[in-house]
Symmetry: C2
């Protein structure tokens, strides 16, 4: 995606953060709740933010994630439940949703929730790459701040 | 971008993190250093990660960012210089670079560095939306961990 001056006037960084302090998703950005990939940032034990691309499901008004308990991001968020999820518009990198919030995790022993997430992704089997002894959590993001950003 | 089962096998989250612990950018992902937008995560005073889309410049082997001193992200990183920058491939959300590192900031009083960044973006004038009394910093990211991720 090539930036042209006519399309965007630079506003360092990007000024039009709508709904600052809101905890709901504005109509202008609800399409992003159906996007394929989000960027989840947790905070590591070393104090560094750790960002990873994740699958997610928007379900019953909440953003939910299926996480394998053996992963570093999972360990991070169980210890430090303050996270940020950014969902970029794949067609326009100047349009995105950032959801900051706290997470609650509940066990998903029979993969019921993992299957629900898999259904969004063409029936993918999330257990396929889980190792022996791994288990899964259903992680629900409770927004404390929703930022809907759009430029140009 | 539609996910198809043939294109990707789910590996929760995404397993092929190359060069774990590396501090250089692998050849496989250097094209992303020329991408238009990155997602910079700082940590707020409230302990929440804060992610924003930013412009950046890959210059002399370093990722550099021009930041306005009045912005929250700038205040965050001056107090807590551990950050993460994620650069997603705009054509493939399953391919990205995550750079965790510390930042050093130096004043850019005459906007010399800001102009260098602007040149990447069609000659954009970064000062255009700076307020009176605002100033700019040249922020250099020193990687402590570079993760080059590719799926499918």
């Amino acid at each position: 995606m090539r930036l042209t001056q006519s399309r965007i006037s630079y506003a360092a960084p990007f000024p039009s953060r709508k709904n600052d302090g809101m905890t709901t998703f504005p109509d202008s950005h609800t399409d992003l709740l159906d996007a394929q990939v989000g960027s989840l940032t947790t905070i590591g034990g070393d104090g560094f933010p750790q960002a990873t691309a994740i699958w997610f499901l928007y379900d019953e008004g909440k953003i939910k994630i299926s996480l394998n308990t053996s992963r570093l991001k999972t360990k991070n968020l169980l210890k430090r439940p303050k996270v940020s999820l950014m969902i970029l518009d794949p067609k326009n990198p100047y349009r995105y949703l950032e959801v900051r919030g706290t997470v609650t995790a509940t066990p998903d022993p029979d993969y019921a929730f993992a299957k629900k997430v898999g259904a969004k992704y063409g029936g993918a089997d999330l257990s396929e790459h889980d190792g022996p002894g791994d288990s899964r959590l259903e992680v629900v993001l409770e927004p404390t701040n929703v930022y809907a950003v759009a430029m140009g």
